[in-house]
Structure formats: C-alpha cells, structure tokens
Amino acid sequence: MVDSCIETASGRPAALGYLKNLGIDLGSAVKLIVVTHWHDDHVRGLGTVVEQCREATIALSAALQQREFIVLTQLYQDPAVARTSGLRELIKVMEVLAASNTSASKIDRRKLALVDRVLLQDKVVLSSIIVPASIHALSPSDASVLKAIASFSRIAPGP
C-alpha cells in the first residue's frame, strides 16, 4: 500500500474500505505500507491504516525516524502551533509502531527507506506463473537524511 487518503463519504481511509470490500483480511494480507512523503494529502488516516494492517512493515524516510525528528513532532503537537493534521497522523503512527514493539509479539515494523534499499522481497503470481518481485526505495539519499537531521536540530535546539 502506498500512502493514505480519506474516503469522503465514510471519513475512513479509502484503501481500508476498498480492501475490506474485496474480502481481504487487513491484519495479515497487507505486507508493506510505503509512506512516500509527509504531506497532509498523502497521510490522512495513515495512523488507522498502520493500526489495522498490524503485520505490515512501514517504510518511511530514515530521516523521520530519528530522535531529532521525534523531538520536533512532540514540540509541534501543541494545538497552538500544530497547523496540519499530518503531524497528528505521524504521532499516531509512531505510537502504534511503538506499541507493536512492546506487544507480546514484539514486532518492530519500522523500515528505514534509503536510496536503493530493498523494502520488500516477495513472489507474485502473473498469468499462473509465480515470479519473484521486489520493491526498492529510490530516495532519500544518505546526504539528504543527514541534512534533514541537521535541519531538525536547528529548529528544535536542545534544552
């Protein structure tokens, strides 16, 4: 699954409704959720998606999984300064992922997306033939991640 958006009529994540209508078990069928970037129109409902697709690995930029960025999200979650719903989704995703890690099954579902990294290797059926398939990240580069982390530190100086 790539990104998330909300179905206007139901107010719920569109992809979840679609898969449910097909009779697909969200808990086990979804293997990978790729979060391309953190713009509001790409992450609406993502917290619920991550929560319900409980066996899926979540691939998002390595920069957004650093402590510096987590500090920033905590600073900005104050409603007085949080201007976008995307931030609340991000915080929810982090909390769901942390909860997965502390659950009885102890699954760390995080996948650091970096350029050229293989996010998923699997097999798919094409015309009755089983063929290997893989999903690769095209970005971000190491330099971009390092630059982003430096930028986070500048925005949120340490106490």
Binding site: V71, L72, T73, Q74, I155, P157, P159
Partner: protein
C-alpha cells in the same frame, strides 16, 4: 465578393500598444503561433459595431491600383487595457542561516532550495531586510531569500525578497517535556 475585396479583408488596422501608434498588420494567419497579438490584450468596453467589409466603400484608381481599405472605426475608443494578473516567477530560492551579525551586514550560510548551485556563504546588508524582521537577525535565525521576476501590468521588475521565519517560542520546559516524550517513544522501540 470579388477577389480584390477578399484581399482587402485580410488587411486591418489596429493599435500597437507598445509603440502607441497605428499600424497595418499582416493577416492574422501570418502571425507566428504563440505570439501575442495586440488585440489579445484588449477587452471591449462596448461592443464595436460589426462592420461588414463587403459594404464598405472601396476606392479604386482606374481599377488597376491595389485596393485600399479604410477602416472607419476609431482605433482607441471602446477598448482598454485588460489588467494582467500579477505573477512572481521564482528564479532562485535559498534557505539561509545567520552565522554572524555585524553593524551593517550579516553573514549567512545559504542552501539552495530552488535553482542550481552549491551551499555558499554570503554577506548581506541588513538594510535589505524589511524593518519588521530586523530584530530577528540573530545567529541561528532562519530566513528565505527569493530572487525572481515580478510581472505586473506595468512591466517586469526583478525582485529580491528576504523573509525571516517566525517560529513558535518554546521555553526550556517545553523542550524538556518534548525530549522526555521523544525519549520514552525511542525507549519503546529499543526495548529488548
């Protein structure tokens, strides 16, 4: 319609706004595609009467000279300049970080956001910054410097705009609380 009248119809007079004069233009079909015709900028205030060229008097000189069409419509009445939309076209944009502040200038590190080029350092006159932002010029402050064209109905102006970011004010207590919550989350991820 005679062939001569047909030829005459392909000639028209119009107003050249840039030259402020009347000129006789080539037939519309001969204007390169994509080129703006003067009349493209004009919008009628009152619809001009629909002239039937076939009924206009044509002057002949013995029947052998080229046809001379006289368009009796006043060339400036009934039309005015349609104000064009103002557009700012960004050529280059940097995110800047103040490194050092002097009495009249400040030293900044510039990272390109739009446009090509490496990171660089620049010394910028404080007078380039709008008055409301001057108090924000301190080491570590973040600003955005945009260079581009400001296209207005009156013409194109090359612009340089510096805007300082105004971020929320956090206290040490806010920072400590946020760090503590972040560390708690990180610990959850790192639990064995």
């Amino acid at each position: 319609m005679t062939a001569m009248q047909d030829t005459a119809q392909q000639i028209f007079t119009c107003f050249d706004p840039s030259a402020g004069s009347i000129f006789v233009a080539d037939p519309v079909e001969q204007i390169p595609s994509g080129a703006l015709r003067p009349e493209d900028h004009l919008a009628p205030l009152n619809p001009a009467p629909d002239l039937n060229f076939a009924t206009l008097p044509l002057s002949f000189n013995g029947g052998s000279d080229p046809v001379q069409l006289i368009d009796f419509r006043p060339v400036t009445s009934g039309k005015r300049w349609e104000p064009l939309r103002e557009i700012f076209r960004v050529l280059q944009k940097w995110e800047g970080f103040v490194v050092e502040v002097q009495s009249e200038t400040f030293l900044a590190r510039l990272v390109p956001i739009k446009g090509e080029g490496p990171d660089q350092e620049a010394e910028i006159y404080i007078r380039e910054v709008q008055e409301a932002d001057i108090e924000l010029i301190k080491p570590g402050a973040v600003f955005y410097w945009t260079i581009g064209y400001h296209d207005k109905p009156s013409g194109r102006v090359r612009s340089s705009i510096i805007k300082f970011r105004r971020q929320p004010i956090w206290t040490n207590r806010d920072l400590e609380a946020a760090t503590a919550r972040a560390d708690y989350l990180m610990r959850l991820f790192n639990e064995e």
